[in-house]
Point group: D2
Chain length 500, copies 4
Amino acid sequence: MKSKFKSNLLKDKPRTACGVFGVFQHPEASVLTYYGLHSLQHRGQEAAGIVSSEFKTEKKRRHFNIMKGMGLVTDVFKDYSMLRNHLGGDAAIGHTRYSTTGSANNEKNIQPLVVNYRDGNLAVAHNGNLTNFRTIRTELQKEGTIFQTTSDTELLLHLIARSRQKKQIDQIREAVNRVDGAFSFVIMTDTMLVAARDVHGFRPMVLGKKDGAYIVASETCAFDILDAEYLRDIEPGEILVIDRKADVNEPLTSYRIDRHVPSSHHCIFEYIYFSRPDSFVFEESVDKIRRKLGKALAQEAPVVPDKDEKTIVISVPDSSNTAALGYVSESLKQGVNTKLELGLIRNHYVGRTFIQPEQGQREMKVKTKFNTVKGVLKGKKLVVVDDSIVRGTTSRQLVKLLKEAGPKEIHLRISSPPIVNSCYYGMDFPNREDLIAVRCNEDAEKIKEYLGVDSVHYLSVKKLLASVPSGNGRGYCTACFGGEYPAPIENVTDKNDLET
Amino acid sequence: MKSKFKSNLLKDKPRTACGVFGVFQHPEASVLTYYGLHSLQHRGQEAAGIVSSEFKTEKKRRHFNIMKGMGLVTDVFKDYSMLRNHLGGDAAIGHTRYSTTGSANNEKNIQPLVVNYRDGNLAVAHNGNLTNFRTIRTELQKEGTIFQTTSDTELLLHLIARSRQKKQIDQIREAVNRVDGAFSFVIMTDTMLVAARDVHGFRPMVLGKKDGAYIVASETCAFDILDAEYLRDIEPGEILVIDRKADVNEPLTSYRIDRHVPSSHHCIFEYIYFSRPDSFVFEESVDKIRRKLGKALAQEAPVVPDKDEKTIVISVPDSSNTAALGYVSESLKQGVNTKLELGLIRNHYVGRTFIQPEQGQREMKVKTKFNTVKGVLKGKKLVVVDDSIVRGTTSRQLVKLLKEAGPKEIHLRISSPPIVNSCYYGMDFPNREDLIAVRCNEDAEKIKEYLGVDSVHYLSVKKLLASVPSGNGRGYCTACFGGEYPAPIENVTDKNDLET
Amino acid sequence: MKSKFKSNLLKDKPRTACGVFGVFQHPEASVLTYYGLHSLQHRGQEAAGIVSSEFKTEKKRRHFNIMKGMGLVTDVFKDYSMLRNHLGGDAAIGHTRYSTTGSANNEKNIQPLVVNYRDGNLAVAHNGNLTNFRTIRTELQKEGTIFQTTSDTELLLHLIARSRQKKQIDQIREAVNRVDGAFSFVIMTDTMLVAARDVHGFRPMVLGKKDGAYIVASETCAFDILDAEYLRDIEPGEILVIDRKADVNEPLTSYRIDRHVPSSHHCIFEYIYFSRPDSFVFEESVDKIRRKLGKALAQEAPVVPDKDEKTIVISVPDSSNTAALGYVSESLKQGVNTKLELGLIRNHYVGRTFIQPEQGQREMKVKTKFNTVKGVLKGKKLVVVDDSIVRGTTSRQLVKLLKEAGPKEIHLRISSPPIVNSCYYGMDFPNREDLIAVRCNEDAEKIKEYLGVDSVHYLSVKKLLASVPSGNGRGYCTACFGGEYPAPIENVTDKNDLET
Amino acid sequence: MKSKFKSNLLKDKPRTACGVFGVFQHPEASVLTYYGLHSLQHRGQEAAGIVSSEFKTEKKRRHFNIMKGMGLVTDVFKDYSMLRNHLGGDAAIGHTRYSTTGSANNEKNIQPLVVNYRDGNLAVAHNGNLTNFRTIRTELQKEGTIFQTTSDTELLLHLIARSRQKKQIDQIREAVNRVDGAFSFVIMTDTMLVAARDVHGFRPMVLGKKDGAYIVASETCAFDILDAEYLRDIEPGEILVIDRKADVNEPLTSYRIDRHVPSSHHCIFEYIYFSRPDSFVFEESVDKIRRKLGKALAQEAPVVPDKDEKTIVISVPDSSNTAALGYVSESLKQGVNTKLELGLIRNHYVGRTFIQPEQGQREMKVKTKFNTVKGVLKGKKLVVVDDSIVRGTTSRQLVKLLKEAGPKEIHLRISSPPIVNSCYYGMDFPNREDLIAVRCNEDAEKIKEYLGVDSVHYLSVKKLLASVPSGNGRGYCTACFGGEYPAPIENVTDKNDLET
């Protein structure tokens, strides 16, 4: 079975690893999960899946119903009767996926993963990346364990199944304590839903409630669509247990991972790009942060118009819309004559299988997604606010497209620092040598020249950190901007060394 | 064969009838058509098709290759080899469709329609609606003509085939002269490409060139994606012939429809809503017009903030983004303390087959498409700029959603007049009695109450007409706003009286 | 839409053109049609279709429901609910198709064809081949008629629609009188079912009844599966009308085609190969005739065993099973020591999409369908009874396969005369020059050598005619065996001269 | 993913468990496997799969390519390029499946099963049924093993992976020694192909060679289609190793399972029904045995015709064709005036998804598959030879159908003894209480009455055993006829106790 889904169009953005969702003891568990996943679609568009837990009276035990497939949530789940008839039950977990480990197009790797072991059914959905994956996998294989997927998530299932602990929650705790790196797990068994987050708190995960049932999700936007209430974040290092005794009026049982870190290391890219602006992430509004990033950019690198003119500011829709708003408002505040314009129109129908022209026409890629509004840009000093540059190839094409609309100058303002390192905690960057900042030795002049703009400015790490919440043990991972890797990295020699 | 595509999500917008495209004497005709259709996707998402004309050496004649299907352009055409292998040839026409006549889900109605008649192959793509369709159809049926589709487009093919004229162009002229109403036809034969537009010029159609070949399309955005040059509009009443002698440096042959109208009657909704803002339509930038509409709204109905506060203005993304920009800039000019904000986040992954909740949860419809950015709206005087209201049901739900974010007041500003009449020229409105303006007797107070807002203002017809280009025989159809119907309407008793 | 069905495996048999079925005024019309088509599957495996006529109360008129597709009846109609939900109504016609005119894989050509004309719905299913197809088609095209298919069946629809007759039955009569050649039509309108058969009676068609409703079908085996009663044949030149007044206890109205032929010209191949042995065709049991053909072969060309041995007789299953039985029984009667054996095992799972090896391995074709039972054949004088040889390529491979089982001698006995001419009345033979009998100049010695057998004998035309019913105006077409063509043939220069 | 394949039409036959095939060191391994599986299609029509072993130069290791799917071999493998492009390599194993354990429609259970473990790739195809499946599964689960399928075949993979043996062949030997019951395994690793057969030799497995490469298969008919040479049977209890050193001119290495049984226990139903008549099974021609069974029936229960008449003998095509031939020839030898006839015509197009009528029309089932040739049976004393009766429901309907053709008497002759027990060695019978022989207490009078025949006779166990080869340690399992179960049976309380 070959997948009909090809890789994404404009890969010149970091891509994150998945959205997770879980709900326990709600009569419409799979329906809530469907809507929740829909609002987490931006976290992964390659595949989606839902697993529901249903008590089968005739068998006197629970059955885990599974529906998974390649594509968007709306591609995989086509009608209501699918949810009603094939995903019955009062608990469910779901997943939208952009793969980081495991071959993207391998259908076996689509999550949630489900198995049956001696203590019953077990399902898991995972956002993140386990950094001691290969070490443990090799160890388990030596003992005779057979792996069915190339995904790091399967590891957790084997660790649970092989645990010598008697109580299931202790098996899960033991397993979660074995794995390193970035993880926000939602685990479903016959009797409980467990949410576990790594000690660094790399990836977000939030707790909510609706109709007296608990919900967990990657972002709060999944609560909004359900009119659910956002209670709090799952804490870094927390293993939270929602079982049949769980009462939304009483505190839940939770355990802590036995590892101490002085502060959390939230992925700061969640604020810059990944999360939806209408979400609360790491206990703060993403919209608010992005606005601050735009303002900070305007402080660090204002673009003053020529006399009697205005500087035109545009975003690259939709991801930098908010930052552009912030940039304009700060500029005006500082007395710079600036105006927000809609200079780029985005075609949202591009879809996953857009036919790309053959070699020699790379700019077509950008043209199928964007067009300029010519009158608006002609003869103007133009500021383009974007959130990040990875390879630089798309940005370069975009600049070329903008130039056709005849602006006087183009000034690129990036609401993140230069990306100079790989991520091992769940973001998908190209190899280090393909990063534009690395290729140009972080030399702004070279980057400017490559992109063909009149100036380029990246937000400084300092300003970035000053724009996000701090205190209370909060910290951020800035490894990709040249900072330290907070969690140990496995020595990986071959990215493709796993057989399915 | 039942279609897997269901009807659209948020139907509370007028919907137009299709995008057309044609190219003649270009070695990559179908590839250009694919990209052109992609950029015309907003004009119809229910089906797409391409027909290419290829000379088959072994048969010593031209063959018309056909690929059509339900869904988006990217759903129907999945890979390059489909274009190369199945749509070869040096001429092609294409169509994106939202049906007005003919059952939406009837695959036989997907355009371009293609037949073979005594003088060879014949294909046609049509944007518009023929108002003497039933009259001519009945007449032809009486003479023994068999109709294969329920679409009005098929009529043209029979009229051409049954013409007693010897020369093919004369057959086409005769046929085009027989039909009334709104039409922008692209007709392909073995020897030429013909573009024909009704005398009123209801729907747009433009002429361009690329690599020495002529191109026609519904909007200029289809030229931008191809780096093609926009030459001029096909004129109202023009029948333009592009044949093998056509030289991009010489004037083309064109004929005129034998009917005189004192001025054109462009569909003004093309400016308000249908066309893409980056297009030139009726020889003017759509972006520019929309901006004016927003400004006009701010003049007619400003919203003054309470002391020491700002009025927050948001658009309903993406269709009213430009009007909102205009509204803000005019407000500021008038000294009203106003600020543009991103208050609504739109989920672009909704897709065509989104599972809707069952009865009793209508507001879910809006929630799957929009979410609010809460901090931005809380406690503010809020102006929501939208382009039009049809039924009002979606607007009402949207208002409800916005209220949850806690604004102090909500003021709705609509950049078009109230819709009070059906359209017979290619737009799809619900029955008259379902229009909110009709239901509320155009009483602003009642509409305000129904929608739950603090004030609502529709742009006046007068201001609307003052905002669009005039002179040079230009005129606009404002029938849906209570104006006259410029072209005669058939007496239609039953919308569903056609069998497939 | 490309067909996934490839052409048949073993093409070395003549192939006939289709099975037809119709039922009128039965509450389960489409279900009966489904079963009827299933039992007519042997008459065409490339496509199948059912059209049912249902009164739609809300529209106050009849609607014709259509389901058609490539493949077997069981491929196209997959479950009961399809019949119940999509093919409701109290009348239906159906078709199984092997194409003779019209491109085999063209989905538009799948029958029944359905159109809507001034007097309502019209559907037709056709078995046969119209010999003045091109003449009339050209004439109609000159008058402006557009053809949607390349099938000759569409002609009839246009002729009916264009008739100036007022009464529908007169339109149908006029149309049927215009066409020449071989046809068994089943025509359904809103008010009646009409069965029409050409004056020669080339193809079979029978009338039956079940539960007070009339049924027509190509062969009586379609009645057996339904426990329906076989009443009589539709007569050559008869136009039989079954309308709502039709009473199974009263004679039906029927008209005659206005053309006189001295006798009928049944296709004698229906007895030899096409029809199922359990059917009555041309008012006689096919099984009985085939048995006679086998006996006649044994009379004309007995194979005497060596002393103290037995001649082993095998059939090529399943088509020549009956003839082989007849051969053995006649041989025994004549004192020839003969024994029927099962020497060839046929693999019935071959299916329509069997992967064929690439060039150079033609014998694989036979091996995927047949295997020998080695012990049975070893050292024996072997008689192989087969019904016909067309190209000879398959027979040659079969002989090669049989030889591997080590028989002493192989004697081929064919229960039909050599095929030396094309058929224009509905059978599909290769070009004349590809026929083995033509290639070998009907020289038995050459044929024997080519096939690699010890002797070959074709049944004589004389014996063949003596084995089938005669008298009462009965006659047979033996054009393919070198006899006269009873109906005039159009001068066809190019088999592929039609565009779709 | 729900299967589109429904269960079989006429389930009133015992059904066996699968065909297996393997080839090592042949450049066209997957092509040979495709043809081999095609000829083993009768052993399982629910699913098919091929796994090929290909050396990937760029990865410097072998990759196992997998293609599996529901349906016939020709449904799963549609064209040559699939084999060439997706199943490259020089070794392959394949499987056709009718499930015995594991849910039939579970796609995960389709074989061959493939995993990757510490020593590389591992694939297995299995015919049979492991009788200590649940015991070992429970034991492994306790140790933390996760099972991915409900099939007993997966057990072997875990046993191999968990073996502490260093050498791979020793791991395989250890695993094969752990399992009980009926098995013919074909195991493929990166370095070898291993064929292993249980000590009883329940299911057949043969060794052949082609072009210097070794082949293993369930039956010799898979060799015939390939022009391969049949060398010998894999012996009961043999573990045969074909590795890269294997030379078709030298003896292969083989090991023995460490368990002693005094004689083999071949499944005698392989002769009666399962195997193809053109195969050699248990070193004897199936055709020859079936002929003997027919003769034995004629000896035990002749049907003497009335004076001056003949007894008509028919088979139920195609499975009892050979036995009917034997019956007739023995009858004639004994001077009983008997004649073989083709009284039943079988419709081979039934397919897997035939639409069955709803309740109350069970006889339709038989009618869609069989029709009678009426003239042949009318007024005759009729002997119907069939191979077995399981539930009796189909036989009863068949008798009803035959009676409509008006025979004087119907005498049923069954070429096997009454089935009175379940099979645990790979055949799929209904529950014991559904067996007709059990329901009627093996009382021939009651069975006769239930079926509606004039007499019924089952072949005696004694005669059956006298008809099959004996000596040389050969023995047969006759457990289903009331004999002993030669291999121990697990105490199974719930057939559906496995979760997927």
